[in-house]
Symmetry: D2
Subunit: 347 residues, 4 copies
Amino acid sequence: MLITMQPDSSAGDHESVRMSLRMRGLECHSISSSGTAAIAVTAGKVTPELAAELGLLNGVAHVRSTARPYLLAQRAARPEGTIVNVSGVRIGGDEPVIMAGPCVVESLEATIAAAQAVRRAGATMLRGGAFKPRTSPYSFQGLGEEGLRILAVARDLTGLPVVTEVMEPEQVDVVAAYADMLQIGARNMANFPLLRRAAASGKPILLKRGFSATIEEWLMSAEYILAGGNDRVVLCERGIRAFDNSTRFTLDLNAVPLVRDLSHLPVIVDPSHGTGRRDLVERMSMAGIAAGAHGLILEVHPDPDSALCDSAQTITPATLASIVSRTHLLTAALNPLAEPMIPLAAD
Amino acid sequence: MLITMQPDSSAGDHESVRMSLRMRGLECHSISSSGTAAIAVTAGKVTPELAAELGLLNGVAHVRSTARPYLLAQRAARPEGTIVNVSGVRIGGDEPVIMAGPCVVESLEATIAAAQAVRRAGATMLRGGAFKPRTSPYSFQGLGEEGLRILAVARDLTGLPVVTEVMEPEQVDVVAAYADMLQIGARNMANFPLLRRAAASGKPILLKRGFSATIEEWLMSAEYILAGGNDRVVLCERGIRAFDNSTRFTLDLNAVPLVRDLSHLPVIVDPSHGTGRRDLVERMSMAGIAAGAHGLILEVHPDPDSALCDSAQTITPATLASIVSRTHLLTAALNPLAEPMIPLAAD
Amino acid sequence: MLITMQPDSSAGDHESVRMSLRMRGLECHSISSSGTAAIAVTAGKVTPELAAELGLLNGVAHVRSTARPYLLAQRAARPEGTIVNVSGVRIGGDEPVIMAGPCVVESLEATIAAAQAVRRAGATMLRGGAFKPRTSPYSFQGLGEEGLRILAVARDLTGLPVVTEVMEPEQVDVVAAYADMLQIGARNMANFPLLRRAAASGKPILLKRGFSATIEEWLMSAEYILAGGNDRVVLCERGIRAFDNSTRFTLDLNAVPLVRDLSHLPVIVDPSHGTGRRDLVERMSMAGIAAGAHGLILEVHPDPDSALCDSAQTITPATLASIVSRTHLLTAALNPLAEPMIPLAAD
Amino acid sequence: MLITMQPDSSAGDHESVRMSLRMRGLECHSISSSGTAAIAVTAGKVTPELAAELGLLNGVAHVRSTARPYLLAQRAARPEGTIVNVSGVRIGGDEPVIMAGPCVVESLEATIAAAQAVRRAGATMLRGGAFKPRTSPYSFQGLGEEGLRILAVARDLTGLPVVTEVMEPEQVDVVAAYADMLQIGARNMANFPLLRRAAASGKPILLKRGFSATIEEWLMSAEYILAGGNDRVVLCERGIRAFDNSTRFTLDLNAVPLVRDLSHLPVIVDPSHGTGRRDLVERMSMAGIAAGAHGLILEVHPDPDSALCDSAQTITPATLASIVSRTHLLTAALNPLAEPMIPLAAD
């Protein structure tokens, strides 16, 4: 059951609805922002009589039952879409956002050089790993907090907000202290304790799709964050595991228009991990934007062949610059017409 | 082993090379056209001495060994790319080609109406099924030769060349008698007797990727046709089978830049089958073009909800018109820059 | 709609039911044998009144509507199960059947030697390829009719019935002239013209599952054969395509109890193709039998390392002998208890 | 590089080897137990000269380079196999171990009743969830520590050692305080911080395979635990994600002989999650044992239809009793012959 509030409803109206629900023993969660609010009943039975009664309360626009298990993440909870503001960079609007940087923070000098190259190429956010999930216990696991400090310095010098991965609940506080946005990696998409703790930080969260997660499972993970009171979630498609090993993963661009239809959350794509091959990154970046993505996240290194990790999928700053300028051209060509391409689902 | 001829080499030069090979008991196949020719040694051992000797023959540009099992289909056999001419429509050049039409030929009137709508919307080829592979033996299996006659009438009235599926070797002659291009469906990609017979027809062939074929298997199926002396092959990505059933198939756009890199053959995409959902077709069409596809094939019906098959993935002529015009905008925005996006593989 | 006849109903009773249906413009197909018969209405609407009326006809046991698209292949059409007799070898009963032989027929001498080794090891049918579907047009494609003649000689010398693959409709007659059972390969599971022609031969048919076919698609392909009037169909699970390339394919044993539950047709497994690794064949053979398979089909060669194809997955006659004897031990241990392990679906 | 010690080597011999390595700046990890020890060089370059020198040290059996990234988990590190003792239950020997119990701990009474039913049916370990990873934030998430206390009571009453899931690093201590064995769930197979913390507890660990993890990734996760100084690891195959949704997951029994070949660690299978259908559980249990599994883990409930979670895949105690007795029959039939079925990899 989803209760949508009128645009001009007040905080008091919201509270009245919530109190009505609680008095009847129902549990509810809500998302709200300037403009829209929705309240989802997450446990307990809403009778038709109660639904009718709720519809008469001040400020209530609609009371509807819904077949989708992701109540707060569904498009109907905020039909106009969500824009996530990351230290001034707006994700979810008409202008795609490009995040770029090295796979892993290697040193202060290298990171500053990379960040400056990224900024010169026209990207607007910096990515880089301080805590790295590595398949082998014997591989370099990242610089940890030292890496976070380096990223913060790079941000201060370039003005680029930083997104970096957090791997376990106990790391959330320290990562949140340095980074502008927390990344939940693909392997942790269903790490529910981590999702809860990250939600509680109040930070914007980049939620990567697990490489064999269904669209519904992905949106349920977003729901964990929204139900935790944090609606600053950006989805990221980063490739699924399929049967052909000519690419490392298979970037699933079908997911882009699909989640734009199903959810109000912004969605970006990661062609670096999605293909694992640097020669495919530019084409798949264009394809991602044309599919409707709100941005890209890319692995870039001044000298890709010497990168400490993910070398095969890392592009040069020159390629990044080309992607940035083509993204603008492509957006300008398609944008005036973009809206009707994503019809709202009838549900 | 692949022997590439010089652009200005003569037919006699080619024949000399082939004779040299045959005299030594080696088997070879070749592709040629105005501009380029390549000869592949497909059985027998080429010693370094023989390779050196062949390199000295008149008209020979390169003699190289190759790790790829698809000899004639590989990019190096025709680095400048192949353009397939289908009754005047050129596939493989800068301008994407849009093929559209109903899933199945239902009647003469409906097909003429559909073809006219398709032409008005700006598409340049007509698709439609006369012989239909159906999962159930009890489903409508198409009108057969009567359907082919109807397609031919629709072509004559609209000027749109016709592509239609052929399902078994014995049907090749009759389909070739009516159609401008033969389609090999996804379920028949590895139907080798059919590939051989279709190759022998000399007709242009649209070779769909099997829904769980690797890129290499797909190119090996193209190799069957090329080795049969027919180089008029257009590849078509139409969706792979993955784990999430929120779409019917998963359109794999990674395949587009990948096969453009690996092969000289043109490649188009089929977002109708690739997604199975009409609300995703337009976005995925744009993504396909941005990924570098040489064209699209789309299921269109004046009244999609009443279509006899594939209704859920069929778009209206109005959506087709929108796709055609956006394809032009997108191509104009990206094309001047397109070349460097597909770097030639080092091999 | 499925009409099941009483065990003691007569041919005349069946004909009366079919005539009743045809007179009302309904289409029907049937399977019958000593003991059971079922008639499926495959086109047209059966009203509740008609259903009630049909239920009163002589010899009719049940009239039921069914949600399954495979009408004749479903378990309810022959609850006691089908036994397919291949020149005296019964497939589908309590005793598992072991088919074995080389991937491809190489020569008369080698084939006779292999067949004798197979018989000595205790297998009861001979497999071997005369027409081979090969990924590369340049690979050895089998000896063709000469290979069929060799297989027939090997059968005559050893008494082992022969199963061999048929790849295209035009080959059905010649293969049927020599072989005891026709194999439809995985790549041809959805080659509907081939299924129809093979059905018409009246021969027993081994229908391999396509490597990315769903269970339902597989049973629909069986339905093509049953609807063609041939109920001598044995299903064969031979591995699906999954994401891990540490095995060539992934033998899907879940399919075995599942199709035994859904269908009355016998099912065997092919651990050679299903794993692609000879060191896994014996264990997976045992697992297949324990899962409920009615038999195995195995690639065997006196000297596996010198086999012309599929060498990596080919076992020795000694391993085959071990598999045969363990199959008997395992069947003896589990069989008295086997029935309750496969409960009939409620539908 | 892997250094295997002689069976009669002393702790001092081991220490000498480790010191030799450290003095040269190389990093190493080791596993040891009565009978065997192996030392893996995990960082730094071993020259042929050093390898030869190490081979001469007291107690060293072999010094070999290895292509496998999982050094301590590979079969060569302990060729005779590992037996994990869980409070007296030995996993990895000739006798399969059956773990069974409810999906989730519902109440004290229900858990005691379930545990007693499980013991009566002949199983030797109790499973049950106190902390539950749930796709929805609104679903019941388990009783937490209260659930652990209940499991401990059930163990004390029945004598069955308890295995239960731990979901995050911070839970390891509390779960280890109550449980006999820690389960790492499929969604957490690549949760590396959790693996490290669980390893440090010293407790036996049941490591489920991620549902789209390759065999190599799975063994690398085991390597994290072994490198953390804990060799009490039991692997568990629980179904992979494939394309057919007629089962919830696809139990991949190929993994069983494969990991027995590649690794010395015991491996069990989970047919409940692996199929998601209770009517397939018994057959797939038999198949798992026949494939070589060292045990089974099964969801059982006195009244499956009323179970709070996973009802569709939960069997009755009567079915469990049938599985236990058939497991004995099957093991008795196959065991005397079992060894040669799993040949040691040549590596």
